[in-house]
Symmetry: C2
DNA sequence: CTTCTTTCATTGACAGCGAAAAAGAACCAC
DNA sequence: GTGGTTCTTTTTCGCTGTCAATGAAAGAAG
């Protein structure tokens, strides 16, 4: 949610212009004619939408001899000038803040990490503001204004109001984050749930480009899921959506912190794997990397822990696909480091649980460095800047 | 999908007019001012949209002394003239066809049942056509034209093309139903999946009115689910969506016909209940009604079968709600006849499996007579008539 | 070397939609 | 009456995106 107007106003975006711009953002350099086909607008409308954006420097054009059609007038390619604007993306976790300075195409220019001394807003907010100031200073070197700030936080976040309703991890309730940070930094601030933010980034800049129905499943400290249905990110009526981690797969399974048994998260998230590891080996394994080393050393009991986790993830994805019929499921998160150990379990369990043609769904993995969470936050800021209606009802 | 133009053309519907019309359809008699608020259009736009529709007789107006505001000019109420047009809705099952003649407000005027002699298209299509002709004759008595025909069939149905891609129940593959029946009857034909059609009816005329995110769960011979997300029915990329019946809840559960164990359908659908019943009593129970009588007679073992089924349904709804965060879940289907036996299990299992605030989701029941499936088909025909963009991408 | 064909891009006219503003209508309260 | 309130309509107006025609830039064909 924008809170403060920036000095140089954003271009006024009509619906068509916004559509054209996002199409160009996601589909790299393409011709006007191709843009017309993808957006189903008339060629004339493309010309009209492109020109003012080009005059403002947001779009540039050039020719690609290779892409010339076999016959007919050669097309000129149009693309977004990534360097025309900068955005800051911030992901807040329980013990650190990850921030990135990203360009208009959401490519990370500068990453930053800061450890947190505490989780309450009094500790975290100044840290965010300081980090933003630092990146704003860095941004001066690019000679381009920072046009927005996105903040991604796990939990129930109201993007429209910029309020963190409830974040169990940070133990925050009803923190008007956009307003506070917007006032402190003078930037338009967008606040969103972290998984949704990552989903936005994948939708516009990653493996979800061009899809209007897909799911992003993140495996790591928890199991998360972002959903895009009918081309828009699903938010959930009560602040809950994508809680695939708490699908209960087995009434006799391990107890989950949510109170149920057999949740995916209680089988396949880092803490569950570490626990399984300790039970299998007797060693006090406390870090995911350590567990991974052990598994790769070949202990079959240890590998079994991962196999079971993969199976749980595969089943959960099967359930998801049966329910929603997405075109693609993207598996990501730090847990992917152990994907070779998960893979078979995921594949088999998915194939077994997918109903009918649902098994045709494209299930893929996408390793993303941890700073991608912050990049997701930047993507939400870019969305707000462009005036996309992704979140309107 | 329209296939044949009707003699008297449908009113040309601009986006605004279509929006106004559907708002009036769903929200009964309301004032223009109220319509403007709900659609977020200007009062002027309402006037412009309403007038031509009123001239064509689709809308009528009147005053309601009771609804007069305390102060100010009394509003006049506008509503859809239900009797202005008729539609036929048809639901095809494995052994019978249910048809209804419905008015523009999707109220059933005449219901019809016909038993089928076979399931192949050569047997079913003539039966459909004959039934339509019969209802067309009946419709003459109303002095109003039948403006569309909707057909609902379980399985993978491509509504846009009017083709039944694959119906396991009927063993149909790639039957261009809309084209065939359209040619035979001269009516514009809409073909859709049966659960989706019922979901449409609930969305426009039932418990889903005004909601943009809800789920309809049907309990009966199978367990089905229709989803509305972002105001539109979810179709699924590979023809599969809403397969809540094949969520696997227990790896040690009963074997399902899909090959997995512990599917909701293998626990809570009619065949599963009958089987449980036979195991509990030793009696050869073959009809759902019979089973219900037995349960009501008080046998605790028998009641346990229903309790377990209710639990499975509750868990499945919990999973659904965790994933999608709908505003409401509507439970319906013939299985509701046994709802008093399911209720506790559903409620408890849902409460236990819903994560966090997801438990606030409104889970309600809605008993619908069996002909409602055919009414759903009629609703899809009305959608097509109005030119709603519910299904466009 | 000219002319045709094909594709891409632009132009200008145009229709239509929906918003804004203002006026009109119908009622109540005083 | 008169003023206040709410609903409805009228008029005007800007804006948008389509349409149809034109121009531009190539290769292909004669």
């Amino acid at each position: 949610m924008r809170s403060t107007p920036s000095p140089e106003a954003a271009p006024a975006m009509t619906p068509a212009a916004s559509l054209v711009f996002t199409t160009l953002l996601s589909n790299g350099p393409i011709t006007r004619a191709e843009t017309a086909r993808r957006t189903r607008l008339s060629p004339a409308a493309i010309t009209k939408a492109v020109r003012p954006l080009m005059e403002l420097g947001y779009l540039v054009e050039g020719v690609d001899e290779g892409a010339r059609p076999a016959v007919g007038r050669p097309a000129s390619l149009v693309w977004v000038d990534a360097g025309r604007a900068l955005f800051i993306g911030i992901k807040v976790t329980g013990d650190e803040i990850i921030a990135v300075l990203a360009d208009l195409c959401c490519r990370v220019r500068i990453p930053r990490h800061v450890r947190l001394k505490g989780r309450d807003p009094e500790k975290v907010l100044p840290a965010i503001t300081a980090l933003v100031q630092e990146l704003l200073t860095e941004a001066d070197g690019f000679g381009v204004p920072v046009r927005g700030l996105g903040i991604a936080i796990s939990g129930d976040v109201d993007r429209a109001d910029g309020v963190v309703r409830y974040s169990p991890f940070l133990e925050w309730r009803d923190v008007p984050l956009a307003e506070i940070v917007g006032t402190a930094t003078g930037l338009p601030v967008t606040v969103d749930n972290d998984v949704r933010a990552l989903t936005v980034a994948e939708h516009w800049f990653g493996a979800g480009v061009g899809l209007s129905n897909f799911a992003l499943v993140t495996v790591g400290a928890g199991i998360g899921c972002g959903l895009v249905v009918h081309g828009r990110v699903v938010s959930g009526a009560h602040g809950v959506a994508g809680e695939i981690g708490h699908l209960s797969l087995d009434p006799l399974g391990p107890l989950c912190h949510c109170g149920n048994r057999g949740c995916v998260e209680a089988i396949a998230a880092d803490p569950a794997i570490l626990r399984g590891m300790r039970e299998a080996t007797g060693k006090n394994v406390t870090a995911a990397a350590e567990a991974l080393d052990l598994a790769h050393s070949g202990d079959p009991g240890v590998r079994q822990v991962y196999a079971r986790a993969g199976e749980a993830i595969g089943k959960a994805i099967g359930s998801l696909v049966n329910l929603l019929g997405p075109e693609r499921v993207i598996i990501s998160g730090e847990g992917l480091a152990a994907y070779d150990l998960f893979a078979e379990g995921i594949r088999d369990a998915f194939a077994a649980s997918a109903f009918g043609t649902a098994s045709q769904c494209d299930v893929m993995t996408r390793p993303l460095p941890f700073e991608q969470w912050a990049r997701g936050a930047a993507a939400t800021a870019i969305q707000s800047f462009i005036g996309s209606d992704t979140y309107e009802e």
